[in-house]
Amino acid sequence: MVLDDDVKKIFLETFPALPESDFQWGKTQKDYEDWDSFAQLNLITLAEAKFEITFSDDEVTSISSAKNLLDRIKSHI
C-alpha cells in the first residue's frame, strides 16, 4: 500500500489542480484536461526520480493512467 500511496502522491504532485477526491486509478489521459505531452514528461521524470528507475520509450508511451504507471513501476522494483 505504501507504493500505491507514493504513486498517487506523484500523480497529485504532477497535477496540482486535481482534487484528491477526483483521483481514480483507472482514469485515463483523455479524461484529464491538462495531461498533455509535457505533463507526461513531468510525470515520468518525477516517477523515475522517486523510484530511481528509468522507463524505456515504449513504457513511457504506454503510460496513460495512474494504474498503468503503478504497474510499470512495479515491474522495475
Binding site: 509535457f38 505533463a39 514528461l41 521524470t45 518525477l46 526520480a49
Partner: protein, 476 residues
C-alpha cells in the same frame, strides 16, 4: 586626470600620510605607496615602453606596487589570476608575450616552469630600484591586459587603455559617490575587473582600501568593525552567505556601511531585501559590465520595483538590443562608449565581437519602459523546447530559492519528441538532504510544464574557470 598613474599622484599629493592600502601584513601610506611604485617603475626602464609585464600575485600590497609600477612606467600589466591552471598560464604567456613575469614568493614555482630564454622571471623581492623613472604613460596606451574567464569559449585577451579606465572610474565615483572619507573593504581578486576597478576608485578619491586575500566572512567582519569601514564590494554569493542565518552579528556589523556594491547579471532579490533592511542609511547597488566594457550600467536599489534589473546605462554609454540584425525590445545587448575596448589582444576575436565601436556582449537582455536593463541569460545558452525559447537562468532562479542548494545550472538535453528539454545539474549544500523529487515538485508548482527539468543530476562541484566561474558550456 588622464591616466591611472595620475590617480595615485593626485592622492599622494593631497594625502601623503594617509593610509592607502591595508593588507594582512602591512599598512602603506600614500607616500610609501608612491615611493614603492616609483622604485618599481625605475626597474622597468630597461624594457621598451608598452612591454607586457605579467603579474601573478595574491591580493597584497606587493601586487598594488607591481601593478601601479608597471603602468606608471608605460608598460602593460598582464594580470594573472592566482587560481590559474598551469595549462592556461602557459596559454596566456604564449599569447601575451611578456618581457618579464613577476610573482610573489609563494607563486614563483608556477612561473619558474615557463620555458623561455627571452622571458625574465623574477620574484617581487628581486626587483630593485635602478634609476629614476622618466617615462609616463599616455591616455591611449594600454594599461592592463586581462584574459576573460572563458565561461562560454576559450579565454580572450582584453587590453584596457588608461583612457578606458579613467572614463570608467570617473563614472563609478560619480554614480556611487565615493570620496576620500571612505574606507573600502575588498574581498575580491585584484586580478579581476571588479576588484581592480575598486582599487582604481580608491586611488582616484584618496580613500583607504583594505584588501583581503581570501573570502572569509569573519575576517571581512573584522575589517569592517576594526576600521569603521564605509563600503564593501563583494560578489553576490558572499553577500548571500553574509545575510544567511550562519552569521547572527551581521546586522550590527554591516549596519553603518554607506554602500554595498556587487556585480551580477542576477542578484537574488531576497539577499537585496535583507541587506537593505540591515543598512541604516546605506545603499545596495550592482552594476553590469564585462571586462571589455566595464561598469556599463549601475543599479542602486532604492525600492523593490526593479529589483531584478541591472540598472540604466552609465553616463556616456549607449546600449541597444539586437535581434536578427535589427534593434529589438529583447535581444543581444550591444554596448558603445569610452569604456569599450577598441580591439582584442592580437586582434583575435575582434571582427566577431566588435562592430563600429559596438561591443556584442552575447548577453540577452530586455529594457523596460523606464529604460532599465534586465539580463535574461546568454545568447548561446537558450534552450529550445518545441520552438519555445527558455532562459536557463529563469529555471535556475526558481530552484535556487530552495533550502539546501548551493548552486544549480540548467542546460539543454536532446529529446526525440521536443528537440531539447531541460537538464539540471545541482550542487547541494553540505548536509543537505534535498531530493530530486523535492526539486521536481517545486518546479512543477513554479514553472510552466515545458520548463520543468526532464533530468536532474547531483554533482560535487562544477567545472570552473581560473576565476571560479562555472563553465556552463562544458555541461552541455
Amino acid at each position: 586626470m588622464n591616466t591611472i598613474a595620475d590617480f595615485l599622484k593626485n592622492s599622494y599629493r593631497a594625502y601623503p600620510d594617509k593610509i592607502a592600502i591595508i593588507d594582512n601584513n602591512s599598512k602603506l601610506t600614500y607616500s610609501e605607496l608612491n615611493q614603492g611604485v616609483n622604485d618599481f617603475s625605475s626597474f622597468l626602464n630597461k624594457f621598451p615602453k608598452n612591454s607586457v609585464i605579467s603579474l601573478l600575485f595574491d591580493n597584497t600590497h606587493e601586487f598594488v606596487i607591481s601593478y601601479l609600477g608597471t603602468i606608471s612606467s608605460g608598460c602593460i600589466a598582464h594580470l594573472i589570476p592566482t587560481g590559474i591552471s598551469q595549462k592556461n598560464l602557459m596559454g596566456q604567456i604564449s599569447s601575451a608575450k611578456p618581457k618579464l613575469v613577476l610573482s610573489s614568493e609563494n607563486h614563483f614555482s608556477k612561473i619558474a616552469e615557463i620555458e623561455s630564454k627571452i622571458i625574465e622571471k623574477l620574484r617581487f623581492s628581486e626587483v630593485k630600484k635602478i634609476s629614476s623613472n622618466d617615462r609616463k604613460p599616455q591616455p591611449s596606451d594600454y594599461a592592463y591586459l586581462i584574459y576573460t574567464s572563458g565561461t562560454t569559449s576559450s579565454p580572450k585577451g582584453v587590453p584596457i587603455t588608461h583612457s578606458n579606465c579613467v572614463f570608467t572610474t570617473t563614472n563609478i565615483v560619480r554614480t556611487l559617490q565615493y570620496s576620500q572619507d571612505d574606507i573600502d573593504v575588498l574581498p575580491l581578486p585584484l586580478s579581476h575587473s571588479f576588484g581592480l576597478g575598486c582599487l582604481h576608485t580608491s586611488l582616484y578619491v584618496g580613500s583607504t582600501l583594505i584588501i583581503h586575500k581570501t573570502v572569509e566572512i569573519p575576517q571581512i567582519f573584522d575589517s569592517i568593525k576594526n576600521y569603521n569601514a564605509t563600503t564593501l564590494a563583494a560578489i553576490p554569493s558572499t553577500l548571500s552567505k553574509i545575510v544567511s542565518n550562519g552569521f547572527d552579528d551581521s546586522s550590527n556589523i554591516l549596519s553603518n556601511l554607506r554602500l554595498i556594491i556587487t556585480n551580477s547579471t542576477f542578484f537574488p532579490p531576497e539577499t537585496i531585501k535583507k541587506l537593505k533592511k540591515i543598512l541604516k542609511n546605506g545603499k545596495v547597488a550592482t552594476y553590469y559590465g564585462l571586462t571589455e566594457a566595464s561598469r556599463s550600467t549601475f543599479m542602486i536599489f532604492d525600492d523593490d520595483n526593479k529589483i531584478e534589473s541591472v540598472g540604466k546605462p552609465s553616463d556616456g554609454i549607449s546600449l541597444k538590443l539586437v535581434s536578427n540584425n535589427e534593434e529589438s525590445t529583447i535581444g543581444e545587448v550591444w554596448i558603445k562608449g569610452h569604456n569599450v575596448i577598441e580591439k582584442y589582444w592580437n586582434e583575435e576575436h575582434t571582427k566577431e565581437n566588435l562592430d563600429d565601436g559596438w561591443l556584442k556582449t552575447s548577453d540577452l537582455g530586455k529594457i523596460d519602459d523606464d529604460g532599465y536593463l534586465y539580463i535574461l541569460g546568454r545568447v548561446d545558452d537558450l534552450i529550445n523546447i518545441s520552438g519555445e525559447k527558455v532562459y536557463p537562468q529563469e529555471i535556475e532562479r526558481v530552484v535556487k530559492v530552495l533550502t539546501g542548494i548551493d548552486d544549480v545550472i540548467a542546460v539543454p538535453m536532446k529529446h526525440e519528441v521536443f528537440g531539447e528539454v531541460v537538464k539540471l545539474f545541482v550542487k547541494k549544500s553540505i548536509e543537505s538532504n534535498i531530493s530530486k523529487t523535492d526539486i521536481l515538485t517545486h518546479c512543477i508548482k513554479n514553472l510552466e510544464r515545458f520548463k520543468v527539468p526532464a533530468k536532474i543530476e547531483f554533482v560535487e562541484d562544477f567545472p570552473r574557470t581560473d576565476y571560479g566561474k562555472i563553465k556552463r558550456f562544458m555541461l552541455k
